[in-house]
């Protein structure tokens, strides 16, 4: 594909980039089982495996947005299932503070999504992904909010266009 063509197609079919943190013991295994069951789900997400949702420093999520993620998703074990007993409670508490924080600094808190998916819930994993991609498309590129500070957007890209993310810093 020529460069011009690539630019054109990215304009037409903008795809949100979704950064997904998965806890090692449940959600990552859930993603795995969705894969081994050959389920089709959108390929927009980049998964980072962490040992427990309680490990996640909220600033990593903010850093994710600054690095060009349009949505950030945190998936962990169900309450009571955490491998380290209480990690997901810590995560839950952080998420409830992080949402108003994102709002306060001018990032739409809907760009952050937190849910619990167990190893056996491959279907839930697939459906979550589909919903999140839909939501991401609704909200548009993160560069709309971060402007020149969104990585991969660059100062030269005009606002509110899908072109803002032509260069994928994740790939």
């Amino acid at each position: 594909m020529s460069q011009a063509e690539a630019a054109q197609s990215s304009e037409q079919e903008w795809e949100p980039r979704i950064l997904t943190f998965c806890c090692n013991w449940c959600s990552y295994a859930g993603a795995d089982s969705a894969g081994t069951s050959r389920m089709q789900y959108p390929t927009n997400m980049r998964i980072i495996r962490i040992m427990c949702s309680g490990r996640l420093n909220p600033m990593f999520i903010v850093k994710g947005f600054l690095s060009g993620a349009d949505m950030v998703m945190m998936l962990g074990c169900h309450f009571g299932d955490c491998h380290y007993l209480k990690g997901n409670f810590a995560c839950n508490a952080r998420m409830t503070l992080l949402k108003p924080y994102l709002q306060a600094i001018g990032i739409n808190p809907e760009r952050l999504y937190w849910n619990q998916i167990s190893a056996s819930e491959a279907i839930k994993f697939k459906e979550t992904m589909e919903n999140i991609v839909k939501k991401g498309k609704e909200l548009g590129p993160i560069a709309n909010e971060l402007g020149v500070h969104a990585q991969g957007a660059g100062a030269q890209t005009s606002k509110k266009t899908a072109k803002a993310v032509a260069e994928d810093s994740f790939s």
């Binding site: 909220p58 903010v62 600054l66 409670f89 409830t96 924080y101 600094i105 971060l146 500070h149």
Partner: protein, 389 residues
């Protein structure tokens, strides 16, 4: 609630409003309740106030009088220079922001609250010293060094010269021209330090005592102990405050709180809109990473700063990556007491206290946590285990 004044004539005259605070501090020291008093002392002029740890009666006496151009914060002084009151018992005169900062640091184990006696002074705002001198020249048309006393009353800033002359200008006029109180003081809704052990101030003092006595409200057992010590040793004379005085004080407080909300709305409007992030960073990108805001902040205390990790932000670039400011806002946002120290110390003149305060008010709406209100309120996220669904 009482009217109090020093029994001793000389202390009464030296004091701002009857010298009650000086009498309380002196008695606490002499009766061995505390090892010393952290006061704000005047140096060259009324525009020079600095924190001073007084350990003798004479030193406490030297500090009497209110300094309205001393935007100092005692909280971090206690941590940095008095070892967080680990082994020293300290009585500290505190404006509401001092008191709130001390409470926040106490919750974080940076100050040993067992050894702290907070003698609160009401405060309707402080002024930055250098612009204050300019303001005196411009609006009062006198030499700033001739001013011996200033006072905020009835919406006016009243000054007294060494010849005994009084001059007044309305605070509104001054602040419309960019002078007057510091921006964070304009937004402040804490005028009476209810988190301190006692609160002293001239609001609510009516009748023949007006201007000659201090209204004292007691909040804690420690506060009661301070008053008992001062009265039993004969240093302080107390009379009951009349109901009209109490009502007047409440009313004045209410007016100031309302004004503070107006100022908040007006100032925060600067960043309103869909492009809030970009608007904020238009200012924040002037940062030269001197870290003064971190050094001065009473809530910032980590030995190992998160922003110095290269996995958080690239080190050695200017302006710093947004992660620098965003980390600060996340770490101190929920607990910001809006003391304004960060903004005072900012060489790039970024309205950083305002931005932090704005984030804090938003977080307060979500969590209900009022920074520095009480030692009992848990800091957000510190009690997450109890949150279950």
């Amino acid at each position: 609630m009482f009217y109090g004044k020093a029994t001793d004539q000389a202390t009464q005259e030296r004091g701002e409003c009857g010298g009650a605070v000086t009498a309380i501090l002196t008695a606490a020291l002499e009766q061995n309740l505390v090892d010393g008093a952290l006061v704000i002392k005047r140096s060259e002029s009324i525009y020079d106030g600095f924190p001073f740890f007084a350990t003798t009666k004479e030193e406490i006496a030297e500090a009497s009088g209110s300094l309205h151009c001393a935007p100092t914060l005692s909280a971090k002084v206690i941590k940095n220079y008095l070892d967080g009151a680990r082994d020293t018992r300290i009585a500290v005169t505190c404006k509401p922001c001092d008191a709130r900062a001390i409470v926040e640091m106490g919750k974080r184990n940076q100050i040993n609250m067992d050894n702290i006696y907070m003698v609160g002074v009401n405060c309707a705002g402080t002024m930055p010293p250098v612009p204050a001198r300019e303001m005196i020249r411009k609006f009062y048309e006198i030499d700033p060094d001739d001013v011996v006393k200033e006072e905020i009353a009835k919406g006016k800033l009243i000054i007294q010269t060494k010849d005994g002359e009084h001059k007044e200008v309305s605070i509104d006029t001054l602040e419309k021209e960019g002078y007057g109180r510091r921006k964070n003081c304009q937004r402040c809704e804490f005028n009476i330090p209810r988190m301190a052990d006692i609160a002293c101030g001239n609001w609510g003092v009516i009748g023949p005592d007006a201007g000659q006595a201090t209204f004292i409200e007691v909040f804690t057992d420690k506060g009661q102990k301070l008053l008992d010590t001062a009265t039993s040793s004969g240093a302080l004379t107390l009379t009951d405050a009349p109901p009209e005085g109490i009502a007047l004080r409440e009313k004045l407080d209410g007016i100031m709180v309302k004004m503070a909300h107006k100022f908040m709305d007006a100032q925060f409007a600067k960043y309103d809109g869909d492009d809030k992030f970009e608007k904020m960073f238009a200012d924040l990108d002037r940062c030269i990473l001197c870290r003064n805001c971190i050094i001065n902040c009473p809530i910032c205390y980590c030995e190992e700063c998160f922003t110095k990790k290269d996995y958080v932000m690239a080190q050695g670039t200017l302006p710093p990556e947004p992660m620098f400011h965003l980390t600060r806002l996340m770490h101190i946002g929920p607990s910001c007491v809006d003391c304004g120290q960060c903004e005072d110390g900012c060489p790039a003149e970024i309205p950083i206290a305002m931005i932090t305060h704005m984030v804090q008010t938003d977080l307060q709406k979500a969590t209900g946590y009022v920074p520095g209100r009480s030692l009992e309120d848990p800091i957000p996220l510190s009690e997450w285990e109890e949150v279950q669904e």
